[in-house]
Symmetry: C2
Subunit: 336 residues, 2 copies
């Protein structure tokens, strides 16, 4: 590894001269600057990031804690975060909590030692279920900024990036109502998450506001030890009168569609389906699934922007902001 010292020795100047020259200091003669830079380039000198960070007390690194990288939503969010961070000169250290509070805590502890300047995270399922957020607040108390995205908690006072989950589900349900659907069920595998609860709220709100809608609202929740496929197939088999489905997570919409086709239900003539999936599943469905698009890339980008904004104004402690990214309904082949 080439250091300033090496360059200084080779050029018979002092280390500080080399350092200044590389930073185009006014103090150094143009001639010296040129010589230093030439040698630095020749030897492929790169400033040691650890030393720079130690000196400046700034790691230029963001800790990203993701609950589940195999969930396409989070993979895409990570993609956006990495992209924006790189653009702004930050590295990211990625940790996966695997939905466990213990791992989430481990990661926070491990990185809050100068490794990172701040965190971007989405709360682990286990943490959300128990609503135990002390470990997160403890980081904030150490004056290390955090931006929460998607899965957030009211008990944590920090910057947040969310979508209007209630509004999105409301809009989706409303669309089915406008189609004249009389029997709309909601299917959820995420009723223990904050976003799941909010989406249910939007569904119920839409049904309640429609005075002509007579059926009882019906939320089918699928727990982790149940087979999504079996449960949905049974549901559709035993309830032929269902004419609208809102799948409020990644996969239930797709699976409902697939099972409907298997059962020879005509989509969208006799049944409309709206999911919260990402575009990546579209290639696997025919007709194409209508979805609520969450603008995941914008969520990731906004998270990075907010964190860096906070880092740049760390002294002047201003209020925390919650930014809501617009979600919108994209109608494709599974709605009229």
């Amino acid at each position: 590894m080439v250091t300033l010292k090496h360059l200084a020795e080779q050029l018979n100047v002092s280390i500080s001269t080399v350092s200044k020259a590389l930073h185009d200091s006014e103090e150094i003669s143009p001639d010296t600057i040129e010589r230093v830079k030439a040698l630095a380039k020749f030897l492929n000198y790169k400033p040691n990031r650890l030393a720079v960070s130690l000196k400046s007390s700034k790691a230029n690194t963001i800790g990203v804690i993701i609950p589940d990288i195999l969930n396409h939503f989070f993979a895409k969010a990570l993609f956006a975060i990495e992209q924006e961070a790189a653009k702004q000169g930050y590295q990211i250290i990625t940790c996966l909590s695997n939905e466990l509070q213990s791992k989430e805590n481990d990661s926070l502890q491990l990185l809050s030692n100068g490794s990172v300047d701040g965190f971007i995270m989405s709360i682990a399922e286990e943490t959300q279920v128990a609503n135990k957020v002390d470990h997160i607040n403890s980081i904030l108390n150490q004056n290390i900024p955090i931006v929460l995205f998607d899965r957030v908690s009211e008990d944590i006072d920090c910057d947040k990036v969310i979508i209007d989950d209630t509004g999105a589900a409301f809009q989706a349900t409303n669309h089915l109502l406008s189609e004249g659907r009389k029997n709309i069920v909601l299917i959820s595998r995420i009723d223990d998450l904050s976003v799941g609860k909010l989406r249910v709220k939007g569904y119920l709100k839409a049904l309640n506001e429609d005075k002509t809608y007579t059926a009882e609202p019906r939320c089918i929740t699928i727990s982790h030890d149940e087979s999504i496929e079996n449960k949905i197939e049974a549901l559709l088999t035993n309830n032929r009168d269902i004419d609208g489905i809102v799948g409020i997570d990644n996969t239930t919409g797709v699976i409902a569609l697939q099972k409907a086709i298997k059962l020879n239900i005509n989509v969208p003539k006799d049944l409309s389906v709206i999911g919260f999936s990402d575009e990546n599943v579209l290639q696997f469905t025919d007709p194409k699934l209508s979805t609520v698009s969450q603008h995941t890339l914008d969520i990731g980008k906004a998270s990075v922007e907010m964190l860096i904004e906070k880092l740049n104004n760390k002294s002047s402690d201003q209020k925390n902001i919650t930014k809501t990214i617009k979600a919108n309904l994209i109608l494709r082949g599974t709605t009229k």
Copy 2:
């Protein structure tokens, strides 16, 4: 941030005493050790990682460069890498090349400044197509170890983790032959990648070795600007005699299955399909797709193990190893 200095001042001892005490040095009295540790715990002292790394010239961090995080194979590999790295006390810094050589190079440059001790990477598509690997070899020349996985190059002399791509495709094709299939086509979206070429080789080998097989081998390659769905649908529509399909990438198997069902082709009676997809797509298919399982988790784990092994024996420069992870055929509903 609490430092050794803080502890030392509070306890009226020297910094080195504190440091030694925290490391359970024999030199320090049990009493002092206890007092130091108590205060450290009370103040939630954590050694500054940057300082430790700078001092020890060891970042305890692995740079991971992934071509495409939205590809489930790589997401899963990252999952495994993170898991194993965490287990061994390493952090990972994740960079996404987005299949671009320029970004791949940027990431290598950016991190080869003390930020990481070594790299785990899979080569970007652009890099593989051009087979320009100087930027990677230049890192190796700086004595920074690299482990390549999945997509590798013969022109890079380093540790590698691969699957037996040729053998896997051979096995898959052989299975279709053993079913008595007479018209087996291979479908690929990745014919520009090393793994794609090897899998084609295995397919051809199987067909050639079967003296009773009379049809011409047929490889359908789909480029990036073509619609996979349209191409496969047209293929199946216009070639009703196809009775076996090997999809050698992530998605073509699934899509072929879906189109076959749409066209009322009886799977697996009249057509068998084998894909290289991961289990995550199974929930979207009925019947369940038969696949070549790549043991992605093992690939990630092995990569970390090999890199850390190399880091621990950096001085004694031993030979580079290529480790082959066994892939195996999992027969489900789309084969007889």
